[in-house]
Symmetry: C2
Subunit: 906 residues, 2 copies
Amino acid sequence: MPKLVYSFGDGQAEGTLADRPRLGGKGAGLHEMTRLGVPVPPGFTISAEVCQHFEQQGRLPAELQPQVEEALELLGRRMGRRFGDPQAPLLVSVRSGAAVSMPGMMDTVLNLGLCDAALAGLAALGGGRRFALDAYRRLIAMFGNVVKGVAHERFERALAEARARAGARTDAELDEQALAALVETYQTIYREAVGEPFPQDPHAQLWEAIRAVLRSWNNERARTYRRLHRIEGLLGTAVNVQAMVFGNTGPHSATGVCFTRNPATGEDVLYGEYLPNAQGEDVVAGLRTPEPIARLQQQMPDRYRELLELKALLERHFRDMQDIEFTIEDGRLYVLQTRAGKRTGPAALRIATEMVEQGLLSPREAVRRVEPAHLEQLLFPTLEPAAARRAREQGRLLARGLNAAPGVAVGTVVFEPEEAEAAAAHGARVILVRPETSPEDIGGMAAAQGILTSTGGITSHAAVVARGMGKPCVAGCSAIEIDLERQCFRAGAHTVHKGEVVSIDGSTGEVYLGALPTSQSELVRVLLERELEPEQAPLYQRFARFMEWVDQARRLRVRANADTPEDARVALAFGAEGIGLCRTEHMFFEPERIPLMRAMILAETEAEQRAALARVEPHQRDDFVAIFTAMGERPVTIRLLDPPLHEFLPKEPEQQQALAQELGLDPERVRAKVQQLQEFNPMLGHRGCRLGITHPEIYAMQVRAIVEAALEVAARGLRVRPEIMVPLVGSAAELALVRSRIEAIIAQRRAALREQGIEPPVEFAIGTMIELPRACLLAEEIAQHADFFSFGTNDLTQCTWGLSRDDGQSFLPRYQEEGLLPVDPFQVLDRPGVGALMRLAVEGGRRARAELHLGICGEHGGEPASVAFCHELGLDYVSCSPYRIPIARLAAAQAALAGEPQLRAE
Amino acid sequence: MPKLVYSFGDGQAEGTLADRPRLGGKGAGLHEMTRLGVPVPPGFTISAEVCQHFEQQGRLPAELQPQVEEALELLGRRMGRRFGDPQAPLLVSVRSGAAVSMPGMMDTVLNLGLCDAALAGLAALGGGRRFALDAYRRLIAMFGNVVKGVAHERFERALAEARARAGARTDAELDEQALAALVETYQTIYREAVGEPFPQDPHAQLWEAIRAVLRSWNNERARTYRRLHRIEGLLGTAVNVQAMVFGNTGPHSATGVCFTRNPATGEDVLYGEYLPNAQGEDVVAGLRTPEPIARLQQQMPDRYRELLELKALLERHFRDMQDIEFTIEDGRLYVLQTRAGKRTGPAALRIATEMVEQGLLSPREAVRRVEPAHLEQLLFPTLEPAAARRAREQGRLLARGLNAAPGVAVGTVVFEPEEAEAAAAHGARVILVRPETSPEDIGGMAAAQGILTSTGGITSHAAVVARGMGKPCVAGCSAIEIDLERQCFRAGAHTVHKGEVVSIDGSTGEVYLGALPTSQSELVRVLLERELEPEQAPLYQRFARFMEWVDQARRLRVRANADTPEDARVALAFGAEGIGLCRTEHMFFEPERIPLMRAMILAETEAEQRAALARVEPHQRDDFVAIFTAMGERPVTIRLLDPPLHEFLPKEPEQQQALAQELGLDPERVRAKVQQLQEFNPMLGHRGCRLGITHPEIYAMQVRAIVEAALEVAARGLRVRPEIMVPLVGSAAELALVRSRIEAIIAQRRAALREQGIEPPVEFAIGTMIELPRACLLAEEIAQHADFFSFGTNDLTQCTWGLSRDDGQSFLPRYQEEGLLPVDPFQVLDRPGVGALMRLAVEGGRRARAELHLGICGEHGGEPASVAFCHELGLDYVSCSPYRIPIARLAAAQAALAGEPQLRAE
């Protein structure tokens, strides 16, 4: 006779973790915990083979009933009760559980085994009659709903009426009499809906519940779930039958939750709370104030010691801090559930490093215990959760936008970048609120504490720049309506005027009225200023030690997107191994340079144009000298000019007028030029290498500045590693042409130095951004002219989806509602679409040139799931904004470790 | 001893066409013609193996010299002269010729074998001393330049001085004395430049020339040419040495060119001209008026008969009309060259059909003899070439833009669409000149003879709509500057005001001042009006017959892009087998409908919106009823609304004001809505199925209209084949959602009819446009919800290249200059980029659903090279604008026949 039922309890279990295919995930876990010595309530598991049989034959296998009866016997003995015995009734729960977790597939039925006749027996076991009635009415409702499909609302309505009749605020205030009446009402509801009375035979209850669980395997919801998650090849679901335990049966009972370490600080102490003589839901309801777990040491010292032992056992076994639900029934401790505990960033860091010190974890395992989101908490300011909740309750949550750049900022509202600069100069903290931002606004953005925009997505200008600056940003907040004329914005019923204070949380996308208390990132201050304050020392030391392990584990290099010498300094502080993207256009937007750039664009003759460019050139060269000097022998990838020229000219007629006056030009000429440069779809227009090809003098100036700066710094003895990157290449011919022009300039500058007897040992790499679908498709041809590829996944995502990052907000929220877009492809790299193109590009590129260097410099370079994909793809490095570097380092390490088994010692 | 030299002459040849790898294309052709009995001047070919040896060893193989000497002997015997004999000198030419044609790789040396001592002998052979001196000075200059690298200009300068001294207008006017002096001057130039005198030994001349040809195989120019054209694996070049013949040696000599049929009309008569006692270049110089070829019949009846025999021989052999160059030397006819003759469209059609009647061609071969461009000439009006040349000489060519829609139009300039309509209503012919057009301008475009825009590319709105209407369009003409305020445009020095007449040629992109004479397409008139006029009957009959052969040969089906019942009628006249793209938005732009559409967009409540849509619905249904009725049982693919909503609202404040008044709305509300809908990159914005998903009521209205129309027409007994197409799908989830909504409506309408006892047998196909790179990458998933794919290659090209069709004109001309973009990817489908994505989509789609129906409805569907690609890809049909249907049918047939051998009988 095949074995279909597996018992567990009292330290013994017939199954192990390896029986997961038959016992399901939940079942196998219960057996394993039992073997481990964790006091879980005993029970048994019906193999998933039964489900398969049931599905194929439409009935249960004949062997099942005797085996279940036998297991029930054993269970009764273990609990000192008996299933179906009205004097000492054994109550059980019935739960589904397949080999792969399918949350929400099937509800649970609790308290099975209770009936009219057993009420008194249950009451006598310690809980009293009120407790027994309460358990009974729950059984009727759950059984009716889950097994018989009676609408949940019918029971809820009766319960609400009972409360109203009794004048009770909560269910807990219903007295014995009220509950007795409610049990009768529930039975009536059941009878009317089902057409027969609630079954009084506990065995009948049990078998109906088992059948219901087995049926649920093939209900619509479960089938859809499996199809969507591509779950195939399973036998079916196992069924777990487990003894009920109660923490409300008297003074020696209790219920509680505890963490094996402090989840807020990571300190190595039991942390939690409990309620004597209570059920789990009483803790949740919050009507009685729970006791801190330390009190248990006085009240039930043996149980407390048992908990401490469990902590050691579980941490050693699961190699992680645990979150335990426990119940003490008449002096006996039961663990109902244990799982890895949620924790704050500082706690995660402390727990991981201390567990290594305590020999519980290897450094490589420790790297997997800290989530990227934990590091984010350490690196960006956060809102105090209690204060945020209070503000929400007070109706001060104005709107929700996109969480475009993490961190929290508080300040007075201004709408004009110039005003932001002026206010900041006077020491004021401001939030810059704009419909969207453009490169001209950079000064104002730098001066503001944070940025709030009403349009634009996660890769809009505001978002990208804010992330680069490490400033919080809420973008695409379409719920606010900005009125620049009246200098205010509306959000629902509120109107917020210039000068009012708001708080924005760029980690959640929330905007609050008024100043909310925040906690600043001390770690960042320490990292950037390199002066240890005593109280920060432990945090910093832990961070430094942890990041050492991280760096040992990863294969991917991590570079920074850094446009200025100051950015480079910050990037180094966060551990950048080079610059993966230096956007030269940002250099042009500095106040003393933009007039020169504009003069160049507006020049009518080539001579005028050259003269304007000649005046820009020394500035560019100085920038590069400073960046090369700062980065030393690390690689620095510099992208030649990318944005369309119209981005450098003012849009408003008045500004154009002013510019004309400034440059001594006919205003009509400025207006005409702006109009001439206007584009219908600037994203798909005259930019990138297209600009370099039609305006060779611009690229020539930039390349001269790069080459001269590199040679100058190299002449001082530093082996600099400049990499010149050509943007928006779509064909091999484009890159070949631009490359030949670059090489000519390099050769010429080298020759000029050689005449002076100087030959600095610099190697210039020349490569391209891969940011057009066509570049991916023709990667093999393009690679013949490229030393490196750097994926520009922002533009690649836009083109692959045909979706402008600036225009998506009008329909993407609706897409999220309809479940059409589980994640924003601008936030998390779209593997099946964009990722497939990247794979083609990697394969094509390496086919042409095995040593081709590969990286990514799009915004995805700092997002953990995307970093993992880059690791799998075999890229050489990722590049991201400086503040995200530690996160990218961690993600890279975790990707490298992903193949290693999780629960074994190394 | 290996054979390295192959002789030909007097009907005998040592090589055949199959020896092409060793004898080169030109050499093998000479041998083949000789074998065929064509009287080509005799000669011999040096195998390309010699070139390989020369390249590898740096010297000629020892066996070569005796073989060349022997071949020279034979050649002399054949010509009755002797190479190197001063009394009866044999002159030869030396030419390169590899197995693959490499035009311009190497110049030719003529008249080799002439020297001071042989002048008298040559003169005595019939041409006289002037003739001999002229031949000699040519030899010195060619040999000096080609073999010794003396600058061509040095000889040219001496020649110009000689003309000046003699007061001669042309070289032909130089007398014997002047030529003798010139020969001396040339020899001096040669000696000074080369450092030695011009070689007097004919054999030395010959060997130096042969070496120069062999060296040229590896010169810079030739290597680059081979690299660019990916020519690999050749042995090298062969060398052809051929006897010179002269048509200017006396009264029994002549030179001429003739076509074997009339290249203008196709009539089956010899057509050409000749000059007695002259050289080929005298015909070109145009100083003497040549005689028509018919005169030869009187002057040299035997030679004329010989030409007629040659015509028969060549047409039978090459199965095509030939263009022959011939020389008669002292009564002996030599053919110097024969090749397929260029011809007009009507001639091509007549020749192809008559050659089938004459048994010279099979119908399948005839299909390959007519080029798509020939049909274009038959279908669109053309400029008279002479008139166009005259206009250019008179400086009336104003500008060149893109040849966006073929045909020629003449009319007075207007700048406002409304004016175009008003003028046309009074019978005036106008050309609509706009910076660009938008859907609101359709009325004006329909009223105009042709359209001229200053921005936008080959797939801009103006271009697409014009092609659809069969109207000429010159687009993206950035050389004109439109001043709408002053109602004029500037083009160079010209300013053209409203009311002035211009002519535009949409086949070449040219814009002329004034009215140029044009020839209208009689064929189109006959096809559309179906009334045969006697003189058009032969043309129409030939066309009809030819297209029958075309249709038998092709596999691809050809459908039309047709938006209205009128379009459908035109499409059918041109042979459409269905509608591949019915763009429903064009239906909304009709004057009585656009206010309803605008009211819908501006509606504030859902009720208002539904009310507005309800008023549009009957119009849509009526359109569909008419289209289904017109198309009968042919498939009709209807695309649901695609453009962003802002395209339906006016852009200018005054128009917005007027709209507000019309609809009784607050002007502020209209302004705000326009602003709210504004997009940075509309191409990548809120359009296509994104619009359908956020505004389900719009798609629901359209689907109801389609379904009800189809059911209504089907109830009348017509088995209509509606195909509902969802645009801009990027994920399977999008299509699944929209499909389920469409299916619900179909089911509901069917059920409603069933209740009335009506069950029309209509099958609704539901499919999607594949126009985003992501859709190609995820085709397998998407196909699970699609009955068909239709490639929208306009948008697919835009996204793949990251290139807006409307913004490319600012840099694409420069790209063409730099050779970066051999063809416009919006005109000819980009195989390695866009084509690669299409291939992925075809493979993925068919993997999911073997019976998936595949088509293309982008503008490429009517372009021959792109149609060929669609055939190779295995698509089921192409769809193009109605006027291009015959061209697409021909291209499809030629693609199907491309694998068949060209020169064999079937």
